[in-house]
Amino acid sequence: MVAFLAPEISPKLQCVDLLAHGDLEAGHQLGRLVRDQHASDAAVLLLYDSVLSFQPRRLHSAGHLLQGFQAEWPGAMATMGGGLLTDLNLTDGWILLNGEVKRHAALALVFPRSVTADAIILRAARPISSLMRVTHIVGAEIFTLDGRRALDVVEEHLDAPLTDTASHPSRIMTLGLKLGEQWESGTPDDYVNRLIVTADREKGSVTLFEPDFYEGALVQLMQNDPAMMLDMARNRVAAAPMRCEGGRQPFLRLYIDCAGRASAMSGALVEEADVVAEVLPDDTPFLGFYSGVEIAPLCGRSHPLDWTGVLATYSRVG
């Protein structure tokens, strides 16, 4: 709580460390804890341990956690947050809380009602395929697209195999689900993208970072574009809410940045996080971290996002 010295902006903390027993149930429990003590319009920051196990590679589901959280507490519809990681290889994640190292934990920082939160979501992916229908999916594992083995369909769009012999992606690809009107012209902002984290050549399936796609969904293969990522950072961050705008006093900017956007992963020549820091409109304290999944409101409801940067601005009203 180093960053929050004044009581009128200090968040209250609620924590559960039951993610290993089920992300959905942990979300429900966290929602109940928050509901009992906080108003439904309070700004909330949700942080959780991303990694369930490294080998085999299993991740906690932000989708299920958020679903449980939102089911119990209406304020969670505007949640912002992210999944915590120790490194780019997704080997581990933990939370240091009250002098203890907690694993498989999720915590909600709930701000007083005098605090508002605004989000700017920065994207980086554009579609590179026509629409494909998800015809068989179990959890996060897509078995068929348009009635054919999903891995075969995806690799038809690539010049090289999607994964190496250890089933790790040889390149970073995402599947995008367009929100809103399907047949209208879309922008990158209209998509929820899911990173392909692994594939099974025998079963012909691809596994996504989150299990929130469904049978019948129309998806497109998306490719990360470093130039677009940097342009969007330059153009949008400058529009972040400024001091005294609308009677609000920003006291913290928090940048929740997908680890895949780091230059080592994205292939960009400059660090996108540096670009964000450079174009911030004022000297409001700025903090950031690389995340596994980002959580931010989209179309009136918070979603887990992949491959995005979420710039949250916390302001005190009055």
């Binding site: 290889n89 080997t91 579609p127 590179i128 395929s129 080592a264 020549l269």
Partner: protein
Amino acid sequence: MNTPVRAAAEKELIYYRRMCNELGKDLQRVQEENERLVREVRRYQSQSRLDRELSHVTGTAADMASMATLVLDAVIEHSLCARAMILHERADHAGCFNILAAAGCRDILVKPSATLDAAPAFGHSFEGEHFPAGVAAFFKAVGKLIGSTHLIWNYDDDSGFAILMAGALGPGDVMFRQQGDDLSYTALARLVDGYWRLQARQPANEIPEISEPPPCIEASPAPSQDTIPRLDRARPTIREYEIASSIAKGGAIEQVAVLMRDDGEYELFVRPSWSTGFRQMLTFRGHAEKVYKDVNRLLGYVRTACRHDGSIVFYAGGSKQFEALKPAAPTSLPDDRTREASAYDATGATDVPSIPFKRSGGTDENRS
């Protein structure tokens, strides 16, 4: 919709779907080419950053243990590897390597030494595929040592130093594979340079107390842009160990001059109190003149290693002063290493002791 119209609409749909997919492939190809170029640039940037960082580490570390630890920190940061070790082959037991330092190994038991027979100068192993192919037993041994089958090995046969790096399963492994070989080579080269630098300083450390100062020659006037500097023709070059040991005995570097070459690099000349004129700095091993690309590094060297706090005169390429000092270069005096060493011996200074390790010859020490 009647059948012919529906059929035409479906054909059109298929046409546009195909075109969309083809455009997507084109976009990917363009982007892949762009990424390939960016990767190349990043590779050079990473190598350059690592080289600069290690140059600083190996130029300032007080002993091999601290140097090895700092080198590993830099290697892990720049190559995105999960684990790394620095090993040193025992002089009395070929194939037996002491592990000088290890990083990222908190979850495995690090042995103090290991026997690694038929160690190649360079090798890597990924997913069961080895290079070179004929030393499977070696890769099995190093894999067991570092607890991974994704590894890169680099070994300097002359000095006996080796660096072993292991990648991590996951997205970061791609970077490790792309850059690990270059970065491990850079790290090993710098480590060996640092080792020789420490060895070169040993005579100064072995002097128990300051004995008589070396004979001081009458000081010449401080150099300026106009005066023609005088070269010590009898001993035109100097190495760091001579400076260190002579300073320990009470000598001093009285004047410093720098030649600015046309290629943007700088050569360093010092006038010690025990010499009759300027002498050109050579690298640790004396194979070539010490050359700097970065004036700040040159300045740091003059202030710390030479303990000279006075002014430094820079002479432009082609100037009379430049020409007066230029004949000191080893290229113009091909055998001056021997001459310089024998002249130094004649002063009675302590020579470099016999070094218990093998001699190095394969690394570039002249990149300051």
